[in-house]
């Protein structure tokens, strides 16, 4: 790992700063690289089998990113969106980029944000992802996972919420297991998708695992 992901440092407050974003990215990179095969395999069952590879390429691009993340949280998220824009045009990437850009707009000019604000910000992002991607809740896509995360964040206002989010997303995956995909490439395999996990939701779970991994590795001792 190089520069941007290695030069900024952690924080000791409950508030979220670019250092956290940076740590989260570092964890996401590790998790996405480790689970690329799994995600490809899931996507191969319902879509075109590239989800793991495209996310791995995004991960590698994040890893190779030499520009440090801005201390402006909005700018930092826009920087991540730019890396995706330069790397991948898959559906999942497009959705993520849309969400990041919306959150970026909400956080522009801020150098820190309270944990309690994350949920509402994510809700804004979710609305944009749904609007631009043309998907709705209940269609068994990453959107349903994000909705579950927004809900979980509504409950807790501190960093421990991450574990709740992780559980909530897993529950969403499980809840949708026996329902059909109605959006994305898998919409065309709706029948077949019943009894199978939505690859995008599983990717979200891996991303959240990465965030947990990365945030705690940045300074877990100081937390809570």
């Amino acid at each position: 790992m190089r520069s941007a992901l290695t030069t900024t440092q952690g924080t000791t407050t409950q508030d979220i700063t670019t250092a956290d974003v940076f740590g989260a990215c570092r964890g996401i990179v590790v998790r996405l690289l480790a689970t690329a095969e799994e995600l490809n395999a899931l996507d191969a069952l319902l879509g075109d089998g590239d989800l793991g590879s495209t996310l791995a390429s995004v991960a590698r691009a994040l890893e190779a990113q030499t520009e440090p993340l801005s201390d402006d949280l909005g700018e930092a998220l826009a920087g991540i969106a730019r890396v995706i824009a330069a790397t991948s045009g898959s559906s999942f990437s497009g959705i993520m980029m849309t969400g990041l850009l919306r959150a970026s707009r909400a956080l522009r000019g801020r150098s820190s944000v309270a944990v309690a604000e994350i949920g509402p910000t994510l809700a804004l992002a979710l609305e944009a992802m749904s609007r631009i991607g043309g998907g709705a809740l209940g269609e068994k896509s990453v959107l349903d996972g994000i909705a579950a995360a927004v809900e979980a964040l509504r409950q807790t206002g501190n960093r421990a919420a991450l574990a709740d989010v992780d559980r909530a997303v897993q529950s969403a995956i499980d809840n949708f297991h026996d329902r059909p995909c109605r959006i994305g490439r898998a919409r065309l395999a709706a029948e077949r998708s019943i009894g199978r996990d939505d690859p995008g939701m599983v990717a979200l779970k891996r991303i959240i695992e990465g965030i947990q991994l990365g945030m705690s590795s940045v300074g877990s001792a100081e937390r809570r």
């Binding site: 879509g47 075109d48 390429s57 045009g89 898959s90 559906s91 990437s93 497009g94 980029m97 490439r185």
Partner: protein
């Protein structure tokens, strides 16, 4: 994985490089990451640009159709993964010759999002962009949900129509209208006989045993309408044609362009055996084959199988389909 390749990660870059080495007078590479293919010699200023973009592994689709009479620029993604938004933006900009740009793309979520976002940026820079989405695969959704259908080999026919209209000097709205008409009058269906292998995955995307095929499968291995024993070629052709004509009637007297396309490994002999039946059937319906294209147009790497596309022509489409082109992958029939 029995692929004649080097590093799977370099699959796209090396194939594109080979394409340009082989046809240096036709293609040139562009874009920050090299993932934009443009014409070696741009079309005259003042004409509408035609751009596209899509995942890789469908050669000659998409980038192979950058040529006089076809596209001006094309953004290239990874295998079965759409181009990055940046590449799409670069392709749209490269295609602009001062009269606006028509984007002709397949109906895939990632591609649509990337083109929508990139087009917004271009329009902010006062370059008008119109987008035509090709959704020709009748197997992928019933008629009431035709908007959900995948774009497959019909994309090539839409390129041809849009490219010829742009070359003729028509304004953007008219070029877009011609392309849209082509899309409305075009239907396709594919049948998969064996799987392809995404280089970075190294194993087949799906499994079909030694006598099973999948009717209606998409060009990335997306689910089709049935799996079952391989029927005789004539029965296969009949079913494919029946599905196309059930979706778009072809009254006696209609003129059509037919594209009988290999998904990759299916040899030319088998395509002609399939096409023969289609030609007989169309003749029986008093439908005139104005143009036939039989060969490799929109593939899925080494997937075995074929697709059949039919474009119902009117005078305008007929003229555009017959206009000359310099594309190495388009043969005057």
């Amino acid at each position: 994985m029995k692929k004649v390749i080097n590093d799977p990660e370099q699959y796209v870059a090396e194939a594109l490089e080979g394409l340009i080495c082989a046809h240096p007078g036709v293609y040139a590479q562009s874009g920050k990451t090299g993932r934009v293919i443009v014409r070696r010699t741009p079309k005259p200023a003042g004409r509408v640009g035609v751009a596209s973009g899509g995942g890789f592994g469908h050669m000659p689709l998409f980038a192979g159709y950058v040529s006089e009479g076809f596209l001006d620029a094309c953004a290239v993604g990874d295998v079965f993964a759409g181009p990055s938004m940046d590449s799409v933006g670069e392709a749209l900009r490269a295609a602009d010759r001062g009269a606006g740009v028509l984007a002709v793309i397949g109906n895939y979520g990632g591609d649509k999002m990337a083109f929508a976002m990139a087009a917004d940026l271009l329009e902010a820079a006062a370059i008008p962009v119109e987008t035509v989405i090709v959704a020709d695969d009748v197997a992928s959704a019933p008629p009431p949900e035709a908007g959900k259908r995948r774009g497959v080999a019909g994309v090539v026919l839409a390129f041809k129509v849009a490219g010829a209209a742009a070359e003729a000097g028509w304004p953007l709205a008219r070029v877009a209208a011609a392309a849209r008409k082509a899309v409305e009058r075009c239907r396709s269906i594919g049948v998969a006989v064996s799987s392809c292998i995404i280089p970075t995955r190294g194993q087949p995307t799906f499994e079909l045993d030694h006598e099973t095929i999948e009717m209606g499968m998409g060009i990335h291995g997306e689910q089709g309408v049935w799996r079952g024993a391989l029927p005789k070629a004539d029965a296969l052709a009949d079913e494919m044609l029946d599905r196309l004509t059930a979706d778009q009637a072809l009254p006696a007297g209609t003129r059509v362009a037919v594209l009988c396309n290999s998904l990759g490994a299916t040899p030319i002999e088998e395509l002609y055996i399939l096409f023969r039946r289609v030609a007989h059937r169309l003749r029986g319906m008093d439908v005139t084959i104005q143009q036939a294209h039989v060969g490799h147009y929109a593939t899925s790497m080494e997937m075995a199988g074929a697709s059949l596309s039919i474009l119902a022509l009117d005078d305008e489409l007929c003229g555009l389909m017959e206009a000359p082109s310099a594309c190495p992958f388009w043969r005057a029939p």
